[in-house]
Symmetry: C2
DNA sequence: CCTTTATGCTTTAAGCCTAAAGAAAGAGGA
DNA sequence: TCCTCTTTCTTTAGGCTTAAAGCATAAAGG
């Protein structure tokens, strides 16, 4: 559609990418120095995460009839063969306690994870992968890895390394302020 | 908390940060070259987005009794005074069409946005900020900007600039593959 | 033993999100 | 006119997410 109904197509920019565009040379910008570079960084970070997540979510659904959060649980459990308590799981995944309850219930119904009472604490359930869950995770992880490699194949290797470092630093800073 | 309840505290790493850790010098790594640097980059990107989003969501809720998605809608509309159709809005926000319906309905009930029929196309509703919505957005945007500046105040300015560039490049690449 | 306090987990209410199906309007051609 | 195809939007079913309330267990102190 060339020249589509004037004023109907938005610039394909997410949210507030250029909040300070109007106003000319700002003489009283809030929080001077930092300017809005941090805001632009944040908006772009979020856009990247959203776009990529959308692609991965669709792949998980289409090819394996599962979801990203369920994969995340399996991945967390794969890293700790002894199993994790619900609380530990929720901390590892950065989601709320109640949320984990529902997701684990689904995986349990599918026979992918098992839950036993902590012998040292009757309140605590320890969740771990079943053999079927381990097999399922291995399959999913391979596909997941390949999807991401494909998604990012046009990003130069040195740029990837740079981002690994910078984002690691950024994550450390963000975690401090929690 | 030094030495906390042995075996109960997971390493504070999100999801699959080091999938290839076990196995020594891999002789048959899938997708050689790229290795798992892309995977680590992706996991870190996602972690940063989640941590930051969580903080912002809480701030929006506590201080203004609103939500991030609603702010996103206001922000998109602020950038286009003539208003946007529901479809254009959903494209700008990277969310589904049906989702926008619900969020706009909320904002409409609060009197922050108005919706009129497109005179050129009776199917299309054009949504725009009301004066009250504009005032609300200005307030929220100022706070939002300040929160982000505070959240990222320990990231060196040159690192911010570097990330702005790299993430912009990354976003462009991700958008191609949609 | 009993009370108080803290912890682990589940439940609930409310909201965000998607895909898919459906309703309504536009656009084009026979 | 009528038929078909497309586009725009809403609705629906299902899943993720949170905060807050509630239940059960644990831990500490009288």
């Amino acid at each position: 559609m060339p020249t589509p109904a004037p004023g109907n197509e938005p610039p394909a920019v997410t949210a507030t990418d250029n909040l300070t565009a109007a106003g000319g040379p700002a003489t009283r910008a809030p929080l001077p120095g930092a300017g809005s570079a941090t805001l632009r960084m944040w908006v772009r970070l979020l856009a990247c995460a959203k776009i990529g997540e959308k692609q991965l979510r669709r792949k998980f659904d289409e090819q394996f009839d599962t979801t990203l959060p369920r994969f995340d649980v399996l991945a967390a459990l794969d890293r700790v063969p002894e199993g994790l308590s619900m609380s530990a799981l929720s901390r590892a995944l950065l989601v709320s306690n109640g949320n984990v309850t529902a997701i684990v219930r689904q995986l349990q119904a599918q026979g992918l994870v098992a839950s036993r009472i902590d012998p040292h604490d009757a309140r605590s359930a320890i969740v771990s992968l079943t053999p079927a869950g381990q097999r399922q995770f291995d399959t999913l992880a391979t596909a997941h890895h390949a999807w991401i490699a494909a998604m990012l194949r046009d990003v130069p290797a040195e740029r990837v390394d740079q981002l690994v470092r910078s984002l690691g630093e950024l994550r450390a800073i963000l975690e401090e302020r929690t």
